[in-house]
């Protein structure tokens, strides 16, 4: 439904009046979402995952420069098409209550149609009275359901959920994920952006592993059952870092946006590194039903 190919994103910054530099935050990113599935984009915080959502929706700041290709049912997803789809077929579920206008009653923020609000409230077990509340009068769980309702008011084909669970209790997080499952089961696609790999493994169908502004591997969620099923050295490192797999850390840190290496972004920390890795970024390859960007993946 939605394919993102070789996407790069940088910000044009000005130091003083004339010195200009471009700060690269996303590089050669590949992701595609299919009908009826939850695709998780998982990676550690501060790695520009939210910007991917903003790029797809076309709501990046003005100084952003986008390269690469985005396709919506095979058609180029340009500014005009984004404008047409936003809020209808393409929807965002934002992170927190700050994404609601603090001075507007929540009912009106979900939809102008009272019937739509009523129907969505019914679906998410919200009392009609909640529609008359202001955002600061909502509990965490209510906020979550309101934000999902606001996204679903337009009956979208693709839902992008940006970190929908932080701050929620495990119970509520599970609830929220069930809502996304329902959305996917009804035929839409869900792009779930999260730093919680555990959550991704439990609820998503496929997982795109995000590292320093790029996707290193797209694997089936079931591949995370064992280290050997994974393809990329970083995915394996991530797997080893999961609590149930020994919590073992990897040396080094993610490269900072603006000082990304020229070749494979993981090369500086990779045990399998060779000179070829450093010279040019590896092309994505299909291996065992997944996609991986590593010269030595098996």
């Amino acid at each position: 439904m939605l394919d993102v190919k070789n996407l790069s994103l940088s910000f044009r910054m000005y130091d003083g009046a004339f010195r200009r530099r471009d700060l690269k935050v996303i590089a050669n990113l590949n992701v595609s979402v299919r009908e009826g599935e939850i695709l998780a984009v998982a990676g550690s915080s501060g790695s520009g995952k939210s910007l991917l959502a903003h790029a797809i929706l076309g709501v990046l700041p003005k100084n952003a420069i986008l390269e690469g290709e985005m396709l919506w049912f095979g058609k180029p997803l340009d500014a005009a098409l984004q404008k047409k789809l936003r809020g209808h077929q393409l929807a965002l579920v934002p992170q927190s209550v700050t994404y609601l206008d603090p001075l507007m009653r929540v009912g009106r923020q979900i939809s102008k149609e009272k019937e739509t609000v009523k129907e969505l409230f019914g679906r998410y077990h919200l009392q009609d009275e909640v529609a008359r509340r202001f955002p600061h009068e909502l509990s965490g769980g209510m906020t979550r359901r309101i934000l999902i309702s606001a996204a679903l008011a337009g009956e979208p084909k693709v839902v992008i959920a940006d970190e929908p669970t932080p701050g929620l209790s495990p119970h509520l997080a599970e609830h929220a994920m069930k809502h996304f499952r329902e959305i996917a089961d009804s035929g839409s696609a869900v792009l779930l952006i999260t730093h919680d790999i555990d959550l991704a493994v439990r609820f998503a169908d496929r997982i795109a592993v995000f590292y320093a502004g790029t996707t290193v591997e797209t694997a089936n969620a079931s591949d995370f059952a064992d280290e050997s099923l994974l393809r990329h050295p970083y995915s394996r490192a991530l797997w080893r870092a999961m609590p149930q797999n020994g919590f073992s850390p990897t040396d080094g840190t993610q490269p900072y946006a603006g000082s990304l290496p020229a070749g494979c972004l993981y090369a500086p920390r990779c045990a399998m590194r060779t000179p070829e890795c450093v010279s040019a970024p590896p092309e994505p390859r299909d291996i065992r039903g997944g996609e991986v960007s590593c010269l030595y993946a098996t």
Binding site: V59, R86, D101, P102, H136
Partner: protein, 326 residues
């Protein structure tokens, strides 16, 4: 009920402020060497010392200061604000009549600066960062540095002297009996002074509104609105105005001090017979102390009223503080 508590506290604080103002201004006025005695000696050359002593007794200026102050304050509270020496009428009557005239001017200027300030601020915010915004912002910053009295003179020179569109001053045409003055004539006389008076607070409000709205445009909820297909203009009307209006109204009500101060200049330049013009009448020449003290107290009440309204608005209208007070 407890919503009212912060307002009650505010009023109590306001009363202490007004008392302090009354004490300070009374001390200052009493310290002035331009007192009834010097004035009397000036207007009656060669008057005998016995006569002066008699008059001192009449004015009560040999009483202890505290007693005099309490007498004056008691009068203020009872509604007896003394007698104006320059208008030969009770101070409260002078203030009442003149304030009514000033009110038309201040209200017009206040409304004008409010509407245009908010409108132009919104315009700048929608075009933020683009040439239109940069130019208008520069103009507004420039306008902040222009003194009221000069812009009044420029308006007078351009619109009255050179173009002849508006009269040179006064609130009504000279020589026309008050009952025959039409509303049109009053408005005609009001426009230039009102424009002058609105000039300063207009640019402040515009810049303030611009900042507030840019905050809105940079907010998470504006991003979400954009992600749901709302355009910049729609965001302005759906979210921007809602979020920028309360601060703007608060600021407008908090600007009563500048409004009153500005009216002193505007009314002097345009010979507009309001309270502002009375300030310089009371202060110059023989110094009309009772009237001047009366105006000080009245202006303090006026400013307090403005701040109180601003306070009530933020406390009662904004749903977030409403919740906090509960």
């Amino acid at each position: 009920m407890s919503k009212l508590k912060p307002i009650a506290v505010y009023i109590a604080r306001g009363i202490t402020l007004l008392l302090a103002v009354s004490i300070c201004s009374f001390i200052l006025a009493s310290a002035s060497p331009i007192n009834p005695e010097t004035r009397y000696r000036l207007s009656h050359p060669g008057v005998s010392d016995e006569k002066v002593a008699q008059m001192r007794d009449y004015w009560g200026i040999d009483e202890p200061p505290v007693q005099r102050y309490l007498g004056w304050l008691g009068g203020i509270l009872r509604g007896d604000w003394g007698k104006s020496t320059s208008y030969r009428q009770p101070v409260l009557d002078v203030i009442g009549v003149r304030f009514k005239t000033s009110l038309a001017l201040m209200l017009t200027a206040w409304t004008l600066s409010g509407l245009f300030g908010f409108g132009i601020g919104s315009l700048m915010a929608v075009f933020r960062g683009r040439p239109l915004d940069r130019i208008v912002k520069r103009v507004c910053l420039f306008m902040c540095s222009i003194p009221t009295f000069w812009i009044g003179l420029v308006f007078l020179a351009v619109f009255a002297a050179m173009l002849g569109w508006f009269p040179f001053g006064l609130a009504v045409p000279a020589g026309v009996p008050p009952e025959q003055v039409t509303l049109g004539q009053r408005i005609h006389h009001l426009i230039l002074p009102a424009l002058t008076l609105s000039f300063l607070s207009f640019s402040n409000l515009a810049l303030h509104t611009r900042e507030k709205l840019i905050d809105v445009y940079d907010s998470d909820f504006a991003l979400f609105a954009r992600a749901r297909g709302e355009s910049d203009t729609k965001i302005l009307f759906r979210h921007g105005i809602r979020n920028a209006l309360i601060p703007a109204i608060t600021m407008q009500f908090g600007s009563f001090a500048e409004l009153f101060g500005g009216s002193v200049f505007a009314e002097n330049i345009f010979s507009y017979p309001g309270l502002g013009a009375a300030v310089s009448v009371a202060g110059t020449g023989a110094t009309d102390i009772p009237l001047f003290l009366g105006i000080v107290m009245f202006s303090a009440c006026f400013i307090f009223a403005g701040n109180l309204i601003a306070n009530i608005l933020t406390n009662l209208i904004d749903p977030r503080t409403k919740e906090a007070a509960r």
